[in-house]
Protein backbone atom coordinates (compact mmCIF):
# COMPACT_ATOMS: atom_id res chain seq x y z
CA UNK A 1 0.00 0.00 0.00
CA UNK A 2 3.02 2.25 -0.40
CA UNK A 3 1.90 3.97 -3.58
CA UNK A 4 -1.13 5.52 -1.97
CA UNK A 5 -0.88 9.06 -0.78
CA UNK A 6 -2.16 9.45 2.73
CA UNK A 7 -5.18 11.71 3.09
CA UNK A 8 -4.54 14.62 5.39
CA UNK A 9 -7.25 15.50 7.86
CA UNK A 10 -9.26 18.61 6.94
CA UNK A 11 -8.22 21.61 8.96
CA UNK A 12 -11.61 23.34 8.92
CA UNK A 13 -15.17 22.26 9.30
CA UNK A 14 -17.18 23.19 6.21
CA UNK A 15 -19.18 26.42 6.26
CA UNK A 16 -22.95 26.55 6.05
CA UNK A 17 -22.96 27.83 2.48
CA UNK A 18 -20.62 25.08 1.28
CA UNK A 19 -22.74 22.51 3.08
CA UNK A 20 -26.03 23.78 1.64
CA UNK A 21 -24.61 24.01 -1.88
CA UNK A 22 -23.04 20.55 -1.67
CA UNK A 23 -26.21 18.90 -0.39
CA UNK A 24 -28.38 20.88 -2.81
CA UNK A 25 -26.01 20.01 -5.65
CA UNK A 26 -26.35 16.34 -4.84
CA UNK A 27 -30.15 16.51 -4.93
CA UNK A 28 -30.08 18.46 -8.18
CA UNK A 29 -27.60 16.08 -9.79
CA UNK A 30 -29.77 13.16 -8.77
CA UNK A 31 -32.78 14.83 -10.41
CA UNK A 32 -30.84 15.54 -13.59
CA UNK A 33 -29.60 11.96 -13.76
CA UNK A 34 -33.08 10.60 -13.10
CA UNK A 35 -35.11 12.63 -15.61
CA UNK A 36 -38.15 10.41 -14.98
CA UNK A 37 -38.78 12.29 -11.72
CA UNK A 38 -39.12 15.64 -13.47
CA UNK A 39 -40.90 14.04 -16.43
CA UNK A 40 -43.53 12.33 -14.31
CA UNK A 41 -44.17 15.47 -12.28
CA UNK A 42 -44.67 17.48 -15.48
CA UNK A 43 -46.90 14.89 -17.13
CA UNK A 44 -49.02 14.57 -13.99
CA UNK A 45 -49.40 18.29 -13.76
CA UNK A 46 -50.37 18.69 -17.41
CA UNK A 47 -52.87 15.81 -17.34
CA UNK A 48 -54.68 17.31 -14.37
CA UNK A 49 -54.57 20.78 -15.88
CA UNK A 50 -56.20 19.47 -19.05
CA UNK A 51 -58.84 17.56 -17.06
CA UNK A 52 -59.78 20.62 -15.06
CA UNK A 53 -59.81 22.82 -18.12
CA UNK A 54 -61.75 20.53 -20.47
CA UNK A 55 -63.70 18.14 -18.20
CA UNK A 56 -64.72 20.19 -15.18
CA UNK A 57 -64.15 23.66 -16.55
CA UNK A 58 -67.43 23.87 -18.44
CA UNK A 59 -69.42 23.39 -15.24
CA UNK A 60 -67.51 25.95 -13.17
CA UNK A 61 -68.62 29.54 -13.49
CA UNK A 62 -66.21 32.37 -12.76
CA UNK A 63 -66.74 36.07 -13.20
CA UNK A 64 -64.58 38.58 -15.06
CA UNK A 65 -62.22 36.08 -16.74
CA UNK A 66 -62.47 32.77 -18.58
CA UNK A 67 -62.11 29.55 -16.57
CA UNK A 68 -58.75 28.84 -18.24
CA UNK A 69 -57.50 32.21 -17.02
CA UNK A 70 -58.93 31.61 -13.56
CA UNK A 71 -57.55 28.08 -13.38
CA UNK A 72 -53.93 28.41 -14.55
CA UNK A 73 -52.57 30.60 -11.70
CA UNK A 74 -54.39 28.44 -9.15
CA UNK A 75 -53.05 25.34 -10.78
CA UNK A 76 -49.43 26.50 -10.91
CA UNK A 77 -49.41 27.54 -7.25
CA UNK A 78 -51.23 24.49 -5.87
CA UNK A 79 -49.06 22.34 -8.16
CA UNK A 80 -46.14 23.18 -5.84
CA UNK A 81 -47.79 20.88 -3.32
CA UNK A 82 -48.11 17.99 -5.75
CA UNK A 83 -44.50 18.20 -6.91
CA UNK A 84 -43.47 18.65 -3.28
CA UNK A 85 -45.11 15.35 -2.40
CA UNK A 86 -42.49 13.66 -4.56
CA UNK A 87 -39.77 15.37 -2.53
CA UNK A 88 -41.23 13.98 0.68
CA UNK A 89 -40.99 10.51 -0.81
CA UNK A 90 -37.38 11.11 -1.91
CA UNK A 91 -36.46 12.38 1.56
CA UNK A 92 -38.03 9.29 3.16
CA UNK A 93 -36.01 7.10 0.79
CA UNK A 94 -32.76 8.89 1.60
CA UNK A 95 -33.48 8.53 5.32
CA UNK A 96 -34.22 4.81 4.96
CA UNK A 97 -31.05 4.20 2.93
CA UNK A 98 -28.84 5.55 5.70
CA UNK A 99 -27.73 8.61 3.73
CA UNK A 100 -28.88 10.94 6.49
CA UNK A 101 -27.07 8.85 9.10
CA UNK A 102 -23.87 9.57 7.22
CA UNK A 103 -24.67 13.28 6.91
CA UNK A 104 -25.56 13.50 10.59
CA UNK A 105 -22.23 11.96 11.55
CA UNK A 106 -20.35 14.70 9.68
CA UNK A 107 -19.15 17.98 11.20
CA UNK A 108 -21.77 20.06 9.35
CA UNK A 109 -24.75 22.20 10.27
CA UNK A 110 -28.11 20.40 10.28
CA UNK A 111 -29.88 23.54 9.14
CA UNK A 112 -27.51 23.95 6.22
CA UNK A 113 -28.12 20.35 5.13
CA UNK A 114 -31.88 20.87 5.14
CA UNK A 115 -31.61 24.29 3.54
CA UNK A 116 -29.62 22.76 0.68
CA UNK A 117 -32.19 20.05 0.23
CA UNK A 118 -35.03 22.58 0.38
CA UNK A 119 -33.42 24.80 -2.26
CA UNK A 120 -33.06 21.90 -4.68
CA UNK A 121 -36.63 20.72 -4.02
CA UNK A 122 -37.97 24.24 -4.43
CA UNK A 123 -36.13 24.60 -7.73
CA UNK A 124 -37.85 21.47 -9.02
CA UNK A 125 -41.26 22.72 -7.86
CA UNK A 126 -40.78 26.08 -9.57
CA UNK A 127 -39.55 24.44 -12.75
CA UNK A 128 -42.58 22.15 -12.95
CA UNK A 129 -44.77 25.20 -12.25
CA UNK A 130 -43.20 27.13 -15.12
CA UNK A 131 -43.68 24.28 -17.56
CA UNK A 132 -47.32 24.05 -16.45
CA UNK A 133 -47.69 27.80 -16.95
CA UNK A 134 -46.31 27.37 -20.46
CA UNK A 135 -48.93 24.73 -21.21
CA UNK A 136 -51.49 27.09 -19.66
CA UNK A 137 -50.74 29.66 -22.35
CA UNK A 138 -51.48 27.03 -24.99
CA UNK A 139 -54.89 26.16 -23.52
CA UNK A 140 -56.17 29.71 -23.36
CA UNK A 141 -54.43 31.56 -20.54
CA UNK A 142 -53.59 35.22 -21.16
CA UNK A 143 -51.54 37.26 -18.73
CA UNK A 144 -52.70 40.85 -18.27
CA UNK A 145 -49.72 42.22 -16.43
CA UNK A 146 -46.51 44.20 -16.73
CA UNK A 147 -43.10 42.56 -16.83
CA UNK A 148 -42.52 43.78 -13.30
CA UNK A 149 -45.69 42.13 -12.05
CA UNK A 150 -44.67 38.92 -13.77
CA UNK A 151 -41.26 38.99 -12.11
CA UNK A 152 -42.93 39.67 -8.76
CA UNK A 153 -45.18 36.67 -9.31
CA UNK A 154 -42.14 34.49 -10.05
CA UNK A 155 -40.40 35.75 -6.92
CA UNK A 156 -43.45 34.88 -4.84
CA UNK A 157 -43.59 31.42 -6.40
CA UNK A 158 -39.99 30.80 -5.32
CA UNK A 159 -40.82 31.92 -1.77
CA UNK A 160 -43.89 29.67 -1.58
CA UNK A 161 -41.93 26.74 -2.99
CA UNK A 162 -39.20 27.15 -0.37
CA UNK A 163 -41.77 27.16 2.46
CA UNK A 164 -43.49 24.07 1.18
CA UNK A 165 -40.12 22.36 0.66
CA UNK A 166 -39.54 22.49 4.42
CA UNK A 167 -43.03 21.10 5.05
CA UNK A 168 -42.38 18.18 2.74
CA UNK A 169 -38.91 17.53 4.15
CA UNK A 170 -40.53 17.33 7.57
CA UNK A 171 -43.24 14.98 6.29
CA UNK A 172 -40.63 12.82 4.57
CA UNK A 173 -38.58 12.57 7.76
CA UNK A 174 -41.43 11.78 10.15
CA UNK A 175 -43.22 9.37 7.84
CA UNK A 176 -40.56 6.67 8.29
CA UNK A 177 -41.04 5.11 4.85
CA UNK A 178 -41.54 6.13 1.25
CA UNK A 179 -45.04 4.66 1.20
CA UNK A 180 -46.10 6.53 4.31
CA UNK A 181 -44.65 9.71 2.84
CA UNK A 182 -46.68 9.12 -0.30
CA UNK A 183 -49.79 8.67 1.82
CA UNK A 184 -49.15 11.85 3.76
CA UNK A 185 -48.60 13.76 0.54
CA UNK A 186 -52.11 12.90 -0.60
CA UNK A 187 -53.26 15.41 2.01
CA UNK A 188 -52.30 18.01 -0.58
CA UNK A 189 -55.51 17.10 -2.42
CA UNK A 190 -58.09 18.26 0.14
CA UNK A 191 -55.80 21.11 1.14
CA UNK A 192 -55.68 22.46 -2.40
CA UNK A 193 -59.36 21.77 -3.17
CA UNK A 194 -60.49 23.72 -0.12
CA UNK A 195 -58.88 26.90 -1.40
CA UNK A 196 -59.43 29.34 -4.22
CA UNK A 197 -57.16 27.29 -6.51
CA UNK A 198 -59.79 25.58 -8.66
CA UNK A 199 -63.18 27.12 -7.89
CA UNK A 200 -64.42 30.43 -6.46
CA UNK A 201 -64.71 29.90 -2.71
CA UNK A 202 -68.03 31.79 -2.51
CA UNK A 203 -69.75 28.66 -3.86
CA UNK A 204 -68.59 26.54 -0.91
CA UNK A 205 -70.73 25.81 2.20
CA UNK A 206 -70.04 28.46 4.83
CA UNK A 207 -67.91 26.32 7.17
CA UNK A 208 -65.72 25.15 4.32
CA UNK A 209 -65.59 28.66 2.90
CA UNK A 210 -64.46 30.00 6.26
CA UNK A 211 -61.44 27.67 6.16
CA UNK A 212 -60.73 28.33 2.49
CA UNK A 213 -60.78 32.08 3.09
CA UNK A 214 -57.98 32.07 5.64
CA UNK A 215 -55.76 29.21 4.60
CA UNK A 216 -52.35 30.00 3.08
CA UNK A 217 -52.96 28.54 -0.35
CA UNK A 218 -55.86 30.95 -1.01
CA UNK A 219 -53.63 33.90 -0.20
CA UNK A 220 -50.91 32.55 -2.46
CA UNK A 221 -53.25 31.69 -5.33
CA UNK A 222 -55.01 35.06 -5.15
CA UNK A 223 -51.68 36.88 -5.13
CA UNK A 224 -50.68 35.10 -8.30
CA UNK A 225 -54.06 35.58 -9.91
CA UNK A 226 -54.16 39.26 -9.07
CA UNK A 227 -50.61 39.87 -10.30
CA UNK A 228 -51.10 38.05 -13.61
CA UNK A 229 -54.72 38.98 -14.40
CA UNK A 230 -55.03 42.44 -12.85
CA UNK A 231 -58.33 44.31 -12.55
CA UNK A 232 -60.33 41.66 -14.35
CA UNK A 233 -60.26 39.57 -11.18
CA UNK A 234 -59.33 41.96 -8.40
CA UNK A 235 -62.25 44.31 -8.90
CA UNK A 236 -64.71 41.65 -7.71
CA UNK A 237 -62.67 41.00 -4.52
CA UNK A 238 -63.55 42.22 -1.01
CA UNK A 239 -59.85 42.84 -0.42
CA UNK A 240 -57.07 44.50 -2.34
CA UNK A 241 -54.29 42.59 -4.11
CA UNK A 242 -51.76 43.81 -1.57
CA UNK A 243 -53.89 42.29 1.20
CA UNK A 244 -53.36 38.88 -0.40
CA UNK A 245 -49.67 39.42 -1.19
CA UNK A 246 -48.86 40.56 2.33
CA UNK A 247 -51.05 37.78 3.72
CA UNK A 248 -49.25 35.18 1.61
CA UNK A 249 -45.87 36.42 2.79
CA UNK A 250 -47.01 36.37 6.42
CA UNK A 251 -48.24 32.83 5.94
CA UNK A 252 -44.89 31.94 4.34
CA UNK A 253 -43.13 33.33 7.39
CA UNK A 254 -45.36 31.30 9.71
CA UNK A 255 -44.74 28.12 7.72
CA UNK A 256 -40.97 28.67 7.77
CA UNK A 257 -40.94 29.52 11.47
CA UNK A 258 -42.97 26.42 12.34
CA UNK A 259 -41.62 23.86 9.93
CA UNK A 260 -37.90 24.63 9.81
CA UNK A 261 -37.39 23.72 13.49
CA UNK A 262 -39.72 20.73 13.07
CA UNK A 263 -37.68 19.52 10.09
CA UNK A 264 -34.40 20.03 11.99
CA UNK A 265 -35.84 18.25 15.02
CA UNK A 266 -37.06 15.27 13.00
CA UNK A 267 -33.74 15.11 11.13
CA UNK A 268 -31.78 14.96 14.38
CA UNK A 269 -34.28 12.88 16.34
CA UNK A 270 -33.68 9.28 15.20
Amino acid sequence: MTGITAISAPTHTPGRVTTALTVGGRTTLKLLRTPQVFGIAVVQSIVFLLMFRYVLGGAIGVSGVTYAEFLVPGFVVSGLLFTGGGSAVAVAEDAASGQYDRLRSLPISDRAVLAGRAMADAALMVLVGLVTLGVGFIIGFHAHCSALEFVAALGLLVVYALCFAFVFIFLGLVSGSAQAAQGLSILAVPFSFISSAFVPIATMPSAVEAFAKVQPLTFMVNSWRGLLLGDAVTKAWDHSLSYYIVGSLLWSLVIIVVFTPLAVWSYRRK
Partner: protein, 336 residues
Protein backbone atom coordinates in the same frame (compact mmCIF):
# COMPACT_ATOMS: atom_id res chain seq x y z
CA UNK B 1 -2.07 5.81 26.02
CA UNK B 2 -5.00 7.69 24.52
CA UNK B 3 -8.37 6.08 24.73
CA UNK B 4 -10.47 5.05 21.74
CA UNK B 5 -13.68 4.96 23.71
CA UNK B 6 -14.67 5.11 27.34
CA UNK B 7 -18.24 4.20 28.28
CA UNK B 8 -19.43 4.30 31.86
CA UNK B 9 -22.84 3.11 32.95
CA UNK B 10 -24.16 3.91 29.50
CA UNK B 11 -27.91 3.43 29.08
CA UNK B 12 -30.32 4.10 26.27
CA UNK B 13 -34.06 3.54 26.55
CA UNK B 14 -36.46 3.51 23.63
CA UNK B 15 -39.77 3.69 25.46
CA UNK B 16 -39.82 0.53 27.57
CA UNK B 17 -36.99 -1.11 25.69
CA UNK B 18 -33.59 -0.90 27.33
CA UNK B 19 -31.23 -1.10 24.36
CA UNK B 20 -28.21 -0.24 26.50
CA UNK B 21 -28.45 -1.24 30.14
CA UNK B 22 -25.40 0.17 31.87
CA UNK B 23 -22.57 -0.56 29.48
CA UNK B 24 -19.03 -0.12 30.80
CA UNK B 25 -16.16 -0.37 28.36
CA UNK B 26 -12.81 1.39 28.09
CA UNK B 27 -10.51 0.57 25.20
CA UNK B 28 -7.24 2.30 24.32
CA UNK B 29 -6.41 3.72 20.89
CA UNK B 30 -4.29 2.10 18.23
CA UNK B 31 -6.25 -1.04 17.53
CA UNK B 32 -9.31 -2.71 16.08
CA UNK B 33 -12.16 -3.23 18.53
CA UNK B 34 -14.96 -5.63 17.67
CA UNK B 35 -18.28 -5.34 19.45
CA UNK B 36 -19.64 -8.84 19.23
CA UNK B 37 -23.18 -9.81 20.06
CA UNK B 38 -26.35 -11.36 18.69
CA UNK B 39 -29.15 -9.41 17.03
CA UNK B 40 -30.80 -7.10 19.52
CA UNK B 41 -27.81 -7.08 21.90
CA UNK B 42 -27.47 -3.30 21.60
CA UNK B 43 -24.54 -3.18 19.16
CA UNK B 44 -26.17 -0.81 16.71
CA UNK B 45 -27.49 1.43 19.49
CA UNK B 46 -23.97 1.58 20.93
CA UNK B 47 -22.29 2.50 17.65
CA UNK B 48 -25.02 5.08 16.88
CA UNK B 49 -24.44 6.63 20.28
CA UNK B 50 -20.71 6.81 19.57
CA UNK B 51 -21.48 8.39 16.18
CA UNK B 52 -23.63 11.04 17.96
CA UNK B 53 -26.72 9.93 16.03
CA UNK B 54 -28.57 9.24 19.27
CA UNK B 55 -28.12 10.59 22.77
CA UNK B 56 -27.63 8.26 25.70
CA UNK B 57 -30.35 8.23 28.35
CA UNK B 58 -27.75 8.23 31.13
CA UNK B 59 -24.12 7.42 31.78
CA UNK B 60 -21.09 8.91 30.10
CA UNK B 61 -19.35 8.21 26.83
CA UNK B 62 -16.10 9.66 25.58
CA UNK B 63 -14.86 9.11 22.05
CA UNK B 64 -11.13 9.80 21.57
CA UNK B 65 -11.36 11.60 24.88
CA UNK B 66 -14.27 13.81 23.77
CA UNK B 67 -17.63 13.72 25.55
CA UNK B 68 -20.39 12.83 23.08
CA UNK B 69 -23.15 14.61 24.97
CA UNK B 70 -21.30 17.82 25.67
CA UNK B 71 -19.31 18.15 22.46
CA UNK B 72 -20.99 16.13 19.69
CA UNK B 73 -19.66 18.44 16.96
CA UNK B 74 -16.12 17.85 18.16
CA UNK B 75 -16.72 14.10 18.04
CA UNK B 76 -18.01 14.36 14.46
CA UNK B 77 -14.69 15.85 13.40
CA UNK B 78 -12.75 12.75 14.37
CA UNK B 79 -15.07 9.91 13.31
CA UNK B 80 -16.07 8.31 10.03
CA UNK B 81 -19.22 6.18 9.97
CA UNK B 82 -20.23 3.40 7.62
CA UNK B 83 -23.64 2.08 8.55
CA UNK B 84 -25.39 -1.18 7.85
CA UNK B 85 -26.44 -0.12 4.37
CA UNK B 86 -24.47 1.30 1.51
CA UNK B 87 -25.37 4.96 2.00
CA UNK B 88 -24.06 6.09 -1.35
CA UNK B 89 -25.94 7.89 -4.10
CA UNK B 90 -26.70 5.62 -7.04
CA UNK B 91 -27.22 8.48 -9.48
CA UNK B 92 -23.68 9.76 -8.91
CA UNK B 93 -20.35 8.19 -9.85
CA UNK B 94 -18.11 6.69 -7.21
CA UNK B 95 -15.74 9.63 -7.51
CA UNK B 96 -18.58 12.18 -7.22
CA UNK B 97 -19.87 10.45 -4.10
CA UNK B 98 -16.46 10.55 -2.45
CA UNK B 99 -15.81 14.17 -3.46
CA UNK B 100 -19.16 15.25 -2.07
CA UNK B 101 -18.52 13.61 1.29
CA UNK B 102 -14.94 14.92 1.31
CA UNK B 103 -16.30 18.45 0.86
CA UNK B 104 -18.66 17.87 3.76
CA UNK B 105 -15.74 16.72 5.91
CA UNK B 106 -14.22 20.15 5.28
CA UNK B 107 -11.80 19.57 2.41
CA UNK B 108 -11.53 22.28 -0.21
CA UNK B 109 -12.23 21.34 -3.82
CA UNK B 110 -8.67 20.28 -4.60
CA UNK B 111 -8.12 18.29 -1.44
CA UNK B 112 -11.51 16.62 -1.91
CA UNK B 113 -10.44 15.48 -5.38
CA UNK B 114 -7.18 14.12 -4.01
CA UNK B 115 -8.92 12.34 -1.14
CA UNK B 116 -11.41 10.75 -3.56
CA UNK B 117 -8.62 9.54 -5.86
CA UNK B 118 -6.63 8.16 -2.97
CA UNK B 119 -9.60 6.27 -1.52
CA UNK B 120 -10.59 4.82 -4.90
CA UNK B 121 -7.07 3.50 -5.30
CA UNK B 122 -6.91 2.22 -1.75
CA UNK B 123 -10.11 0.22 -2.20
CA UNK B 124 -9.33 -1.03 -5.69
CA UNK B 125 -12.14 0.97 -7.28
CA UNK B 126 -10.09 3.19 -9.61
CA UNK B 127 -11.51 1.55 -12.73
CA UNK B 128 -15.09 1.93 -11.53
CA UNK B 129 -14.61 5.46 -10.17
CA UNK B 130 -16.32 7.21 -13.06
CA UNK B 131 -19.25 4.84 -13.36
CA UNK B 132 -22.63 5.55 -11.81
CA UNK B 133 -22.88 3.78 -8.48
CA UNK B 134 -26.19 2.18 -9.43
CA UNK B 135 -24.20 -0.02 -11.84
CA UNK B 136 -21.96 -1.30 -8.98
CA UNK B 137 -22.34 -4.72 -7.40
CA UNK B 138 -23.48 -4.89 -3.77
CA UNK B 139 -19.95 -5.57 -2.60
CA UNK B 140 -18.55 -2.60 -4.54
CA UNK B 141 -21.21 -0.31 -3.09
CA UNK B 142 -20.26 -1.37 0.41
CA UNK B 143 -16.59 -0.79 -0.34
CA UNK B 144 -17.39 2.65 -1.70
CA UNK B 145 -19.45 3.32 1.42
CA UNK B 146 -16.45 2.37 3.53
CA UNK B 147 -14.44 4.74 1.34
CA UNK B 148 -16.88 7.56 1.98
CA UNK B 149 -16.20 7.25 5.68
CA UNK B 150 -12.46 7.51 4.99
CA UNK B 151 -12.17 10.66 2.89
CA UNK B 152 -12.08 12.84 5.98
CA UNK B 153 -9.09 10.91 7.39
CA UNK B 154 -10.97 10.09 10.61
CA UNK B 155 -9.08 9.07 13.73
CA UNK B 156 -11.79 6.55 14.52
CA UNK B 157 -13.61 4.55 11.91
CA UNK B 158 -17.02 3.19 12.96
CA UNK B 159 -18.34 0.22 11.01
CA UNK B 160 -21.76 -1.15 11.80
CA UNK B 161 -21.89 -4.78 10.67
CA UNK B 162 -19.66 -4.03 7.69
CA UNK B 163 -19.97 -7.42 6.00
CA UNK B 164 -23.55 -8.45 6.80
CA UNK B 165 -25.22 -9.70 3.64
CA UNK B 166 -22.06 -9.85 1.55
CA UNK B 167 -20.89 -12.90 -0.36
CA UNK B 168 -17.66 -14.52 0.91
CA UNK B 169 -15.46 -12.88 -1.72
CA UNK B 170 -16.74 -9.36 -1.10
CA UNK B 171 -16.50 -9.98 2.60
CA UNK B 172 -12.88 -10.98 2.27
CA UNK B 173 -12.09 -7.89 0.17
CA UNK B 174 -13.64 -5.68 2.81
CA UNK B 175 -11.68 -7.44 5.54
CA UNK B 176 -8.42 -6.83 3.69
CA UNK B 177 -9.36 -3.16 3.29
CA UNK B 178 -10.07 -2.86 7.02
CA UNK B 179 -6.82 -4.61 7.92
CA UNK B 180 -4.86 -2.22 5.70
CA UNK B 181 -6.49 0.77 7.37
CA UNK B 182 -5.74 -0.54 10.81
CA UNK B 183 -2.16 -1.24 9.76
CA UNK B 184 -1.77 2.43 8.86
CA UNK B 185 -2.88 3.54 12.29
CA UNK B 186 -6.61 4.28 12.03
CA UNK B 187 -8.59 3.16 15.06
CA UNK B 188 -11.41 0.88 13.98
CA UNK B 189 -14.52 0.01 15.95
CA UNK B 190 -16.79 -2.48 14.28
CA UNK B 191 -19.87 -4.37 15.34
CA UNK B 192 -20.42 -7.88 14.19
CA UNK B 193 -22.44 -10.94 14.93
CA UNK B 194 -19.83 -13.14 13.29
CA UNK B 195 -17.23 -14.70 15.52
CA UNK B 196 -14.86 -15.42 12.67
CA UNK B 197 -14.94 -11.76 11.69
CA UNK B 198 -14.13 -10.63 15.22
CA UNK B 199 -11.49 -13.31 15.52
CA UNK B 200 -9.76 -12.28 12.32
CA UNK B 201 -9.90 -8.49 12.54
CA UNK B 202 -10.01 -7.48 16.16
CA UNK B 203 -7.26 -6.87 18.66
CA UNK B 204 -9.87 -6.54 21.37
CA UNK B 205 -13.26 -8.22 21.38
CA UNK B 206 -16.04 -6.89 23.57
CA UNK B 207 -18.95 -9.28 23.91
CA UNK B 208 -22.24 -7.56 24.66
CA UNK B 209 -25.66 -8.98 25.27
CA UNK B 210 -28.88 -7.38 26.52
CA UNK B 211 -27.19 -3.98 26.42
CA UNK B 212 -24.39 -4.89 28.81
CA UNK B 213 -20.77 -5.87 28.52
CA UNK B 214 -20.44 -9.60 29.09
CA UNK B 215 -16.68 -9.90 28.74
CA UNK B 216 -13.82 -8.35 26.82
CA UNK B 217 -10.26 -9.19 25.90
CA UNK B 218 -8.22 -10.54 23.04
CA UNK B 219 -9.51 -13.58 21.23
CA UNK B 220 -6.93 -15.76 23.01
CA UNK B 221 -7.71 -14.28 26.40
CA UNK B 222 -11.37 -15.00 25.97
CA UNK B 223 -10.68 -18.54 24.87
CA UNK B 224 -8.24 -19.27 27.65
CA UNK B 225 -10.55 -17.70 30.19
CA UNK B 226 -13.08 -20.30 29.26
CA UNK B 227 -10.05 -22.55 29.37
CA UNK B 228 -11.66 -25.90 29.12
CA UNK B 229 -11.80 -28.40 26.30
CA UNK B 230 -15.14 -29.27 24.88
CA UNK B 231 -16.65 -32.63 24.05
CA UNK B 232 -18.53 -32.19 20.84
CA UNK B 233 -21.28 -34.74 20.17
CA UNK B 234 -23.44 -35.48 17.16
CA UNK B 235 -26.44 -37.79 17.51
CA UNK B 236 -29.61 -38.41 15.52
CA UNK B 237 -31.94 -35.37 15.65
CA UNK B 238 -34.63 -37.29 17.49
CA UNK B 239 -32.23 -38.17 20.32
CA UNK B 240 -30.65 -34.79 20.81
CA UNK B 241 -32.68 -33.61 23.83
CA UNK B 242 -32.29 -36.94 25.57
CA UNK B 243 -28.56 -37.01 24.82
CA UNK B 244 -28.09 -33.51 26.25
CA UNK B 245 -29.88 -34.58 29.41
CA UNK B 246 -27.66 -37.66 29.70
CA UNK B 247 -24.52 -35.52 29.38
CA UNK B 248 -25.30 -33.41 32.43
CA UNK B 249 -26.35 -29.83 33.19
CA UNK B 250 -23.42 -28.16 31.37
CA UNK B 251 -24.32 -29.70 28.04
CA UNK B 252 -25.77 -27.25 25.53
CA UNK B 253 -27.39 -27.71 22.15
CA UNK B 254 -26.23 -25.40 19.37
CA UNK B 255 -28.41 -23.04 17.35
CA UNK B 256 -28.97 -25.46 14.49
CA UNK B 257 -30.06 -28.15 16.88
CA UNK B 258 -27.41 -30.38 15.37
CA UNK B 259 -24.63 -30.76 17.93
CA UNK B 260 -24.12 -30.83 21.66
CA UNK B 261 -21.15 -29.19 23.39
CA UNK B 262 -20.03 -30.16 26.90
CA UNK B 263 -17.22 -28.21 28.59
CA UNK B 264 -14.94 -30.67 30.40
CA UNK B 265 -11.98 -30.52 32.74
CA UNK B 266 -9.76 -33.55 32.32
CA UNK B 267 -9.85 -34.20 28.61
CA UNK B 268 -9.69 -37.80 27.43
CA UNK B 269 -11.29 -39.24 30.57
CA UNK B 270 -14.29 -37.01 30.15
CA UNK B 271 -14.61 -38.14 26.58
CA UNK B 272 -14.85 -41.72 27.77
CA UNK B 273 -17.37 -40.73 30.45
CA UNK B 274 -19.49 -39.01 27.83
CA UNK B 275 -19.42 -42.04 25.56
CA UNK B 276 -20.43 -44.26 28.46
CA UNK B 277 -23.23 -41.95 29.55
CA UNK B 278 -24.67 -41.94 26.04
CA UNK B 279 -24.28 -45.70 25.80
CA UNK B 280 -26.10 -46.17 29.12
CA UNK B 281 -28.94 -44.03 27.83
CA UNK B 282 -29.13 -46.24 24.74
CA UNK B 283 -28.29 -43.44 22.31
CA UNK B 284 -26.36 -44.12 19.12
CA UNK B 285 -23.54 -41.61 18.63
CA UNK B 286 -22.83 -40.42 15.08
CA UNK B 287 -19.71 -38.50 15.94
CA UNK B 288 -17.91 -37.43 19.10
CA UNK B 289 -14.72 -35.40 19.45
CA UNK B 290 -12.66 -33.51 21.95
CA UNK B 291 -11.62 -30.02 20.83
CA UNK B 292 -10.24 -26.69 22.01
CA UNK B 293 -12.90 -24.09 22.76
CA UNK B 294 -13.77 -21.67 19.94
CA UNK B 295 -15.12 -18.16 20.29
CA UNK B 296 -18.49 -19.71 19.66
CA UNK B 297 -18.12 -21.72 22.86
CA UNK B 298 -16.98 -18.61 24.70
CA UNK B 299 -20.02 -16.78 23.51
CA UNK B 300 -22.29 -19.66 24.39
CA UNK B 301 -20.89 -20.08 27.87
CA UNK B 302 -21.05 -16.34 28.56
CA UNK B 303 -24.46 -15.54 27.16
CA UNK B 304 -26.29 -18.84 27.14
CA UNK B 305 -26.94 -18.72 23.41
CA UNK B 306 -24.95 -19.00 20.22
CA UNK B 307 -24.41 -16.43 17.52
CA UNK B 308 -25.46 -16.70 13.92
CA UNK B 309 -22.13 -17.66 12.53
CA UNK B 310 -23.38 -20.65 10.64
CA UNK B 311 -24.08 -18.57 7.55
CA UNK B 312 -20.38 -18.12 6.93
CA UNK B 313 -19.24 -21.51 8.08
CA UNK B 314 -18.95 -22.92 4.58
CA UNK B 315 -16.57 -20.20 3.49
CA UNK B 316 -14.28 -20.81 6.42
CA UNK B 317 -11.35 -21.82 4.24
CA UNK B 318 -11.07 -18.74 2.06
CA UNK B 319 -9.33 -16.28 4.25
CA UNK B 320 -10.45 -16.98 7.77
CA UNK B 321 -7.42 -19.13 8.20
CA UNK B 322 -6.66 -17.93 11.71
CA UNK B 323 -9.20 -19.79 13.71
CA UNK B 324 -10.78 -21.97 11.06
CA UNK B 325 -7.70 -23.98 10.22
CA UNK B 326 -6.41 -24.07 13.78
CA UNK B 327 -9.74 -25.36 14.94
CA UNK B 328 -9.61 -28.15 12.39
CA UNK B 329 -6.03 -29.05 13.31
CA UNK B 330 -6.92 -29.19 16.98
CA UNK B 331 -9.84 -31.38 16.45
CA UNK B 332 -8.92 -34.70 17.98
CA UNK B 333 -11.48 -37.14 16.74
CA UNK B 334 -12.56 -40.25 18.50
CA UNK B 335 -15.09 -42.60 17.06
CA UNK B 336 -17.48 -44.20 19.43
Amino acid sequence: MDSMIEAQGLTKHFGDVEALAGLDLAVPSGQVLAILGPNGAGKTTFIRTIATLIQPTSGSLKVQGIDVVERPKQVRRVIGLAGQYAAVEGAMTGRENLRMIARLFGHDRKAAGRAADSVLEQLGLEDAGDRLVRTYSGGMQRRLDLGASLVGAPRLLLLDEPTTGLDPRSRNELWVAIENLAARGTDVLLTTQYLDEADRLADTIAIIDHGKLVDSGTSNELKSRLGRDVVDVKVADADIERAAAALGPEASIDADHARIAVPVTTGAEDLVTAVQALGAAGITVDDIALRRPTLDDVFLSLTGHTTEWKAFDESDGDGTDGDGAAKKRDKRKARA
